[in-house]
Assembly symmetry: C2
Homo-oligomer: 230 residues x 2
């Protein structure tokens, strides 16, 4: 079904294609991914397919227990809140830091220009440049570990996005405007305000996502609750 790919590593190539198929929605939530199934469809050996699957399990895109077949992760509203809270933790500190150095990453500027350019296109096309915008901010601090953590969160966000077909999910113009404001605040060295705006920005996106997934809205938009009982 899926064509063969040639890259640095076979297991990496298979994993990449599976990733795309998951993000595209071709593989729906809770869809079972048998090792032999993957092996035959990509014409690779079962150990290779196994390694690919385990890679995606490590990334959180698939879940599986011992001796059970891997399934596409089915993320609920709680997971979405977890993911967005983690994003906020990392990114708000990053904004403070960038603002302190008055560093405006060119990649983020370009990404937001791209968002503005497709303002008339399909609403779901905004996801890629939006993620690129945020990732550019993170990468600008040059911390390998933080970048890795964030990209793992981005992968989960994209997974969530692919489960939602509501076209009214995203207000492209608003997103673009808030991104612009964030960049301006960074340039002006106003880190605290940038961090606060980011919290609202992410909180809004989170609640829209939760709503589109059928979950009920959280208590407040900009400061999510949910502290574990000790």
């Amino acid at each position: 079904m899926a064509g063969r790919i040639a890259a640095v590593s076979i297991v990496e190539a298979v994993a990449s294609d599976l990733r795309l198929r998951i993000f595209s929605g071709e593989l729906p939530s809770a869809h079972a991914l048998t090792e032999t199934e993957v092996a035959t469809s990509y014409e690779v050996a079962r150990p290779t397919a196994k390694a690919s699957i385990e890679k995606l399990v490590a990334e959180g895109l698939l879940v599986r227990g011992v001796h059970k077949t891997a399934r596409v992760a089915d993320l609920g509203p709680e997971s979405v809140r977890d993911i967005y809270l983690a994003r906020a933790y990392l990114e708000s500190e990053v904004l403070r830091r960038l603002a302190a150095a008055r560093t405006v990453p060119t990649g983020a500027v370009q990404a937001n220009r791209d968002i503005a350019a497709l303002a008339t296109g399909a609403p779901l096309d905004v996801v890629e440049p939006d993620m690129r915008f945020h990732t550019s901010l993170i990468d600008a601090v040059g911390n390998e570990r933080i970048s890795r953590m964030y990209s793992s969160l981005v992968a989960e966000v994209r997974l969530c996005m692919s489960r939602v077909q509501s076209l009214h999910l995203l207000d492209t113009a608003l997103i673009q405007a808030e991104h612009q404001k964030l960049l301006e605040l960074i340039e002006a060295g106003r880190g605290e305000e940038a961090a606060r705006l980011l919290d609202q920005h992410l909180g809004r996106a989170r609640e829209r996502l939760v709503a589109a997934m059928g979950g009920e809205a959280g208590p407040e938009a900009d400061l999510p609750s949910g502290l574990a009982n000790q």
Copy 2:
């Protein structure tokens, strides 16, 4: 050489034992870990050994390029700064959050009691309860992803610690006192002060670690620089 272990999964068991051997210093930095070598020493098949090694590579404890043998990660001062900065990002937000809810995790209280109890023992014994203290704080927010990220950072910190034999590295009494102060600030709901104290706490530990590794000190202790050029 290493005895066999029986657990849920063989590759997990092998990975765990390798982890311990790395943390204990038995496997020094840049030590090569051949797949066949691991396979024969644990009496497992090579694919199993391979999987264990790849697991540790994913955790950052081992490094390896394509077609090259895995080696124990050799973390330099830059890595230490990256790790501690990432810790600060996560943990400072966690402290603000815990303080807002005035939630003092019992696990952290117990961990700090343990530190106080062994105030007369070997200085390196403080590492385990110290990590437990910080991990308890993180886990208290109940965010699975943040906990996972943090534990990955803790693993790297422990790797660094095992490379350092300087016994004057840690001032147990000071650590214990600062932990106590952190808990009090949380209980009092003074999140900002807690976050600031944490920055100093981690910054001090970081610079001691860097110094013990032979690196030169960073510019300032509580607000590490190192912004990537654009």
